[in-house]
């Protein structure tokens, strides 16, 4: 009974508010932002949320979509595959039809299956694992490239520009890290460069010096690391301590501001092009700076674009029906901060690419020569 009273009270309050503001007359369109707010890689979540929030704020300032405001519902999976199904189930039970995220491939995988079963549109702006688009999910999209693009791009650079004598490839046994490391290995082998070492490390360990000594003994002069930044920071530091003298390279998960200091100087990373440098995005870059956020963060622009695409698709489809929205996304081309975006039938961004950057000790980056 008490419950009912609360509902009535809430409805009355809402009705009273609505008399005042007609913009809210039809309620809101809820969008779940499935991010990593906690956990060791929460920095990815910061970038993701920065991009999504600004895009939604700007869209709402222009009247939202279908005459309704977009409402963000924050969710946190900490990039843990164990936590993401709980997030997905909450999205389903809250009857939310659209998800921006998840951030990490490993945690996205189990959640994506749940979204697929419930016809929920999901747009990730940072999950690069190839697996995600191989299941034939009709409502899956991403505004970032795949590891099968990023791995070969890295491998291409290694073989033709870096030309190492002895290459070592290390990964962290996770969906993302092992995936991209395997891609790199396969491509360099095809090009005739056989890595002298292909090893896995344990996520969360604090001592990799035995591995560094082993690399040193093998005379390794180039290391590709597939994984996230917490382990990479320790690897870089311990390699520096032992004076390994090898060049390091990592995927886009390595590019966060915690990777800094002497040991990080010269690290190579494959990243989406730096869209914050595009003249067309000057206004949006200003808006980020006004909020004291760094628009050049790897996932900031891709996340902004993911929100843009979703909102435009809701407007274009003239519907909140996720199936119609997904259908519209498959058939149309979107103007975003990433340029014109089109999706393949699998939901991948058709013209995604990766550039090679050099990371510096102050955590800034420049395009690799």
């Amino acid at each position: 009974m008490k419950m009912k009273k609360t509902v009535v009270a809430a409805a009355l309050t809402a009705a009273m508010v609505l008399i005042g503001g007609s913009a809210l007359a039809q309620g809101t369109i809820k969008v779940a932002v499935a991010s990593a707010i906690t956990g060791p890689v929460a920095q990815y979540g910061d970038m993701h949320r920065a991009g999504v929030h600004l895009a939604v704020e700007q869209a709402n300032a222009e009247g939202g979509a279908l005459g309704k405001k977009i409402e963000i519902v924050e969710m946190d999976d900490a990039c843990e595959p164990k936590q993401s199904p709980a997030v997905a189930n909450r999205v389903v039970s809250d009857k939310i039809k659209f998800v921006l995220g998840h951030v990490c491939s490993g945690s996205f995988k189990p959640a994506a299956q749940i979204y697929n079963e419930n016809d929920i549109v999901m747009v990730s702006s940072s999950a690069t694992s190839d697996d995600l688009s191989t299941y034939g999910y009709k409502t899956f999209f991403r505004t970032i490239g795949k590891d099968s693009q990023q791995g070969p791009a890295a491998a291409e650079y290694i073989v033709s520009k870096a030309k190492p004598k002895k290459l070592a490839i290390v990964h962290d046994k996770q969906t993302y890290g092992q995936g991209v490391a395997t891609q790199v290995r396969n491509t360099v082998e095809k090009k005739g460069l056989k890595p002298v070492m292909f090893e896995a490390i344990n996520k969360g360990d604090t001592d990799y010096s035995a591995l560094i000594t082993k690399m040193k003994r093998a005379g390794v002069d180039f290391v590709y690391y597939g994984g996230y930044h917490p382990e990479l920071i320790i690897l870089l530091k311990q390699a520096h301590d032992q004076n390994l003298g090898a060049r390091w390279m990592g995927p886009e998960g390595a590019a966060v501001s915690d990777v800094k200091g002497d040991s990080a100087e010269g690290l190579l990373v494959t990243l989406p092009p730096d869209f914050s440098k595009e003249p067309a995005n000057a206004k949006i870059v200003e808006a980020f700076k006004a909020k004291r956020q760094d628009p050049s963060g790897v996932f900031v622009m891709t996340s902004y674009a993911a929100a843009q695409v979703l909102i435009d698709a809701i407007k274009g489809a003239q519907s909140e029906d996720p199936k119609k929205v997904a259908d519209y996304m498959h058939k149309n081309r979107f103007k975003t901060v990433l340029g014109d975006v089109e999706f393949t039938p699998e939901g991948d961004w058709a013209t995604a690419r990766f550039d090679i950057f050099v990371w510096h000790k102050d955590a800034s980056k420049t395009l690799a020569p």
């Binding site: 001592d207 591995l211 003994r217 301590d241």
Partner: protein, 308 residues
């Protein structure tokens, strides 16, 4: 293989400095077990809290204030020891003393509860993100060219080794000669008899928890300085490894904990040196099983004779 020896030497350095931290934490497990016959499962968290107190101290003083690095390290260690010892004492007061005499499972669960409480407490206080610890100790102590292979040791690792060795000697001498050390040994032989003979058993037990926390705090600060990042979950893995080291060496025996720590560090290091790195935990825990099969009370543990 002419580069075998220098590489072996380098791995020895790697392994010993890794094992040193295990040994520091393991002493806490082994002393508590030696006296009250129970495992303090909150001990890994004490180590983690030590690392956080060290970081908070460094941040409070400010690394840019111009004090020499060694002074900052000493200050971080001193404050971490003081604050963390209080936590160690509190664990005993809350999770053990009030349950003394109850079935063994009860304090076990209350210690696990303390461990979860501490983890979440630090998460709320400092967020669950990785925090970076300023790099105070940089550079290498030595690096020498041996037949084309450069063997080196960083200052942070050297510090871990030196501090650990000094503490080990100090703890051994203390237990052997000091009044409180004698009391600890008496309690570990027969706690009821020690009480009847006028030893303040409660004080001895509190002291054991404080000593364990102190050593774990030093380990926490040193590891924070060495890998320059910490998070609230580092205590779990370190605790498990140190517990393993304590069991390996013979739980209840202080020299055993030292030996077990060093051995575990070396085995892990050499396993990842000569096998693919992912096998290292399999090898070290396989070894643990084998040793326990042959010597059920660990390498130096003698259950019927004295413990501690």
């Amino acid at each position: 293989m002419e580069t075998f020896f220098p590489q072996f030497l380098q791995q020895l350095i790697n392994g010993l400095s890794l094992g040193a931290i295990y040994a520091l934490i393991a002493i806490g497990y082994t002393m508590v077990y030696g006296i009250i016959g129970m495992i303090n499962f909150a001990h890994g968290e004490i180590y983690m809290i030590g690392a956080y107190v060290g970081l908070v101290t460094l941040t409070a003083i400010g690394t840019a204030a111009g004090y020499p690095p060694w002074l900052l390290v000493v200050a971080a260690l001193a404050i971490a020891i003081m604050v963390t010892s209080t936590y160690g004492w509190a664990v005993e007061r809350c999770a053990y003393r009030s349950l003394r005499g109850s079935p063994r499972l009860v304090p076990l669960i209350s210690a696990i509860g303390m461990s979860i409480f501490f983890q979440n407490y630090v998460v709320i206080l400092h967020s669950s993100r990785d925090l970076s610890v300023p790099e105070l100790i940089t550079g290498r102590l030595f690096s020498m060219d041996m037949g084309g292979f450069e063997v080196s040791m960083s200052n942070s690792r050297a510090l871990i080794l030196i501090v650990t060795v000094v503490l080990m000697v100090a703890v051994t001498l203390f237990i052997r000669h000091a009044r409180m050390g004698r009391a600890c040994r008496a309690c570990s032989q027969d706690i009821r008899m020690a009480g009847l003979l006028g030893i303040d058993v409660n004080k001895v037990i509190s002291f054991t928890f404080i000593l364990g926390a102190l050593l774990a705090a030093i380990g926490g600060v040193l590891i924070g300085l060495s890998i320059s990042k910490i998070n609230p979950f580092i205590g779990f893995l370190a605790g498990i490894k140190a517990f393993t080291a304590a069991v390996l060496g013979g739980i209840g025996s202080v020299p055993g904990a030292m030996l077990g720590g060093a051995l575990l560090g070396l085995v892990e290091t050499f396993a990842s040196a000569f096998l693919p790195t992912e096998y290292k935990d399999m090898v070290s825990f396989g070894l643990l099983i084998v040793i326990l099969l042959i010597r059920p009370s660990g390498l130096l543990g003698r259950p019927e004779v004295e413990k501690v």
